[in-house]
């Protein structure tokens, strides 16, 4: 019988090397979680030499490796698009060169623009039907963990695009019409509720506009804590200056609509950070290191305890690393970004590119 709880990690956009499970080695996202957690944990005297892996098992769900294979195949095809454009030019533009040109311009970004290649394409790929494979694989990973660890010892931590993957998967996996004898693979909201769900930089509401697999704020969703939900507790974590959390923000009110007011009070945690340690306010490590997140996370995962004095000291230590003036500078920089709340994928992708450029500019000035 496993004697530690388990955390299932789901990464977001960008390059993430997969774990080497047979060798017991974490991938890059797992390593990032461990490093950030250890840094946060070691602030407390009773845990100064601890590693987070002393207290829990970590399982990474990696879908970047699969997207990488798709990207590589398409890059091979991109060369052909260039030849098509050449022929179109040869034919004196008679052949719908405008249309072909758009196609070529779109796919020519593969390999030319690293950010597009590693970040933006993830969102595009996931939003197409091939996201269905990601969801099946994540559901399979979760089911195996419930089988091995029991539902009450399973926790899920997702970041950025991973929050959309997790929301969509859980919404399809936990069904009120669950029947263990039918042909639909699903789990019971009564029997199989896992212990906690952590949505860090939650973009599930935004991407829902694209995939339309379910509305995270609808009372019918099963991705919620308590009665009728897939999890016993639910945490939504964001940074005030993380622009990815602005469009289509997940921010349920305590009005009995999404969940009952009692469940909202007891089972839902909304955590908002504002210290800037890293100009990239979307960084997963920055989220986890913040005591605002680390303390409730560790308490939930392994019944972490600290005195008020210890917690104050940890908060001061974290705050001492913040970049002076960064908050105001970032706020000013992002004020120029035209991000509305329309929730279109085009908005999201434009925002991603603008943010990257803004952060690059600011990082040089800080």
């Amino acid at each position: 019988m496993p004697n530690k709880p388990v955390v299932l990690l789901v990464h977001g956009m960008g390059s993430h090397t997969p774990p080497k499970v047979a060798k017991g080695k974490l991938g890059s996202f797992g390593e990032e979680f461990v490093a950030a957690s250890n840094k946060a944990l070691n602030r407390y005297p009773q845990h100064v030499d601890d590693k987070i892996t002393d207290h829990l098992e970590i399982v990474e769900f990696n879908y970047d490796e699969f997207f990488d294979e798709i990207r590589k195949k398409m890059q091979e095809n991109a060369g052909m698009s260039a030849r098509v454009e050449a022929v179109a030019n040869l034919a004196g533009g008679n052949f719908a060169a405008g249309l072909v040109g758009k196609l070529v311009a779109w796919e020519a970004r593969f390999g030319d623009d690293e950010f597009f290649y590693t970040h933006v394409l993830d969102v595009i790929f996931y939003s197409t039907f091939i996201g269905g494979k990601i969801r099946v694989d994540l559901a399979l990973a979760l089911t195996k963990l419930i089988e091995e660890f029991g539902n009450k010892r399973v926790h899920i931590v997702a970041h950025s695009l991973g929050t959309a993957v997790v929301f969509d998967t859980l919404n399809l996996m936990y069904r009120s019409e669950h029947d263990p004898n039918d042909v639909i693979p699903d789990l019971s909201v009564v029997n199989d509720q896992f212990e906690s769900l952590w949505m860090v930089a939650n973009v599930s509401s935004l991407l829902n506009f694209v995939a339309r697999l379910g509305d995270p704020l609808n009372s019918d969703t099963t991705v919620k804590p308590g009665a009728g939900g897939c999890t016993k507790t639910f945490y939504n974590v964001r940074h005030k200056l993380d622009p990815f959390t602005w469009p289509g923000r997940f921010n349920p009110e305590n009005d009995g609509d999404w969940i009952s007011t009692r469940a909202y009070k007891l089972r839902y945690g909304s955590i908002v950070n504002d210290l800037v340690i890293d100009a990239n306010t979307h960084s997963f490590a920055q989220y986890i290191e913040d005591p605002n997140v680390a303390v409730p996370l560790f308490k939930r995962l392994f019944k972490f305890k600290a005195t008020d004095n210890q917690r104050r000291a940890a908060e001061e230590d974290h705050a001492s690393q913040s970049i002076q003036g960064a908050f105001s500078l970032l706020k000013e920089e992002f004020a120029d970004l035209e991000i509305t709340d329309t929730g279109s994928i085009d908005e999201f992708l434009t925002a991603a590119e603008n943010i990257r450029a803004a952060i690059d500019g600011i990082a040089n000035n800080l």
Partner: protein, 363 residues
Amino acid sequence: MRKINGVWVFLLCASASGQNGHEAAKEMGAFGCNSNVPVTEQVFEVSRHFSGLQQEAVNISTLFCMALNNPIEAELPVQELAEFGLIAESRAMQRFSGTSEQQDIAEAMRLFAATLDSGDAFPLEMPDFDVVEPAIEQDDVVVFYGISVEVENDHVVSPDDDDTCIDVNHVSCSELLFDLSYAINPYKRSYQIHNAKKVEKQLTELHDDWNRFFENARSMTTLDLIVTSVIEGDHMRRGFLVGPVKRQWFVLHPNVILQYTEAVTEGDRFKAGLSIEWLGVNYWDDGPFGVPIGASITTVYSDRAGIDQVGHGVTLHFDNRFSVGWTRNGDDDAFHVSADILRLFKDKQTEFKKYKARVMKLK
């Protein structure tokens, strides 16, 4: 009827009449249901204050294990499950009697026992007895407890209650509550594992279907992915996890082809060119004729004298790999095949040469 560890086991009476307890235990073990393993090794957390109840919970789990592994001869022990609910209620009330939480715990345990007394209701509801610290620290809540079923049923222990709620053995209510949950919750383990294994099998089949799609289907551009997602959107939005789409759609999809036409001089009849599928569909697995098949409206470009460079027509796709088509180039007919066919012929040619060489050696 036999009594094993305090639980009547109807199943064993039916299949093991006349056998002693040792034989019965061996039979339970034969189903791989851990009956001979100590309780402490079968649970995640060992109960200190409700060890007898925890043993009952493990026994129920064992009964479910045996019934689920032997569905032809055994029915699910729903009666025993209902009895367990009543036992849990009774043991909890014995311990919390006289404490300030007595009434709330009585209500929580009543609901728990009622939920387990499902009769013929299906699927079985087997909730956890939860004891949870609130998501965010609060001044007025230490822990809350209950079971998450349709009716919201979270009872709260406040700091004052936690200070004053101590049982006759000087154990605090919150400690007792956590321990009660450790004792009760193993009851559902076998049922949960059994169902999870079924779901794992179903998902593995879907996983394999997706892998077959990516191995076998025609390659797609980003535009193809997007258009297919729009047209086949209903498949993905069926409300549960699904396998791959049955049809792929192609828009402005480029290919390298080999064109053949008799409209030009001999020696120049075969020429490489490029095709664009304006709009196409491909059944990658089981098509209308039971085989992978597709078709596209196509324009072909081939830079050669004696024939229009541009021709419009159709292409047929076979087995996700081979494409053959026809275009009308002005007044002339032309045919084209995909590069994959060339590779096939090349491979076959290489095989033929090897075979011929072997045969020649034998002569």
